[in-house]
Symmetry: C2
């Protein structure tokens, strides 16, 4: 935690997502911001439409799962850690229909929780963490997501 | 329930999904079977890969949400009912990594539960139902999903 962070840029993250997870290209998904604390991913409506001309629940789940995944990826990458991250559980409440571009944000856990997670990972080479993400469209929270992620050092 | 059912074919359902939800085309998703009781959707691995060369969690969530959605769509369509269906909650446990083609199946609720749901829909023009779906790859259950869906008569 005391080492200086070397922040990944949003365009680098977008490139990595498009290379590693082809469906993100089909979704038009881009990383819109990362400040060392909060990552935001954004997607346009059109490639993610459903049968009611609002955003498809699968696209909303996908961007929400990815926001949590990207947060962990960035936390590790910016600290120079080589870690495999997988999602184990995902639960989402769809609160409002989405009729425009939408974004998912995930924010770093509080320092004590993050330190505990990184400490467990260092000791046991494997640690789990629950992350909450929000999906927002037009300043309204349209969905709330909780994901349980496991990280493994390799 | 006593009217004869006019079963939609899997290829008709695939066509509807590809028309209405463009991301299903990007996923390579097709409806593989519908017998009036159980619907199965199938997707190839390649367009749904993640960074570890297994299926992306967002794709697995998407196919699972869609299996429940399609089951309701088919129940209504085959009975000639015009109903809007939306997903309100989605929760999934990822049990195993998926390394090949994968399918999601959803099965009609027991007759009494289905009758109660259809009765509520008729009386109140709106009804909710929880549906479980399974995602299988290579004969192994790789994910279990629960979705809460709302149907509205229009």
């Amino acid at each position: 935690m005391n080492a200086p962070l070397n922040l990944t840029t949003p365009s680098d993250l977008t490139h990595i997502l498009h290379q590693e997870i082809p469906l993100t290209r089909a979704m038009g998904l881009v990383a819109s911001s990362w400040d060392g604390q909060t990552v935001a991913l954004t997607a346009p409506l059109e490639p993610n439409l459903n049968h009611t001309d609002t955003a498809f629940g699968g696209s909303i789940s996908s961007i929400a799962v990815l926001a949590g995944y990207c947060l962990l990826f960035l936390i590790f990458k910016d600290r120079g850690l080589s870690t495999r991250i997988l999602v184990q559980k995902s639960a989402i409440d769809f609160l409002l229909p989405i009729e425009a571009e939408f974004s998912a944000t995930a924010t770093c856990p509080a320092p004590a929780e993050l330190e505990e997670f990184l400490g467990t990972l260092k000791r046991k080479r494997r640690a789990r963490i629950e992350l909450s993400t929000e999906v927002v469209s037009g300043h309204m929270v349209a969905a709330r997501h909780k994901g349980l992620y496991v990280a493994m050092v390799y």
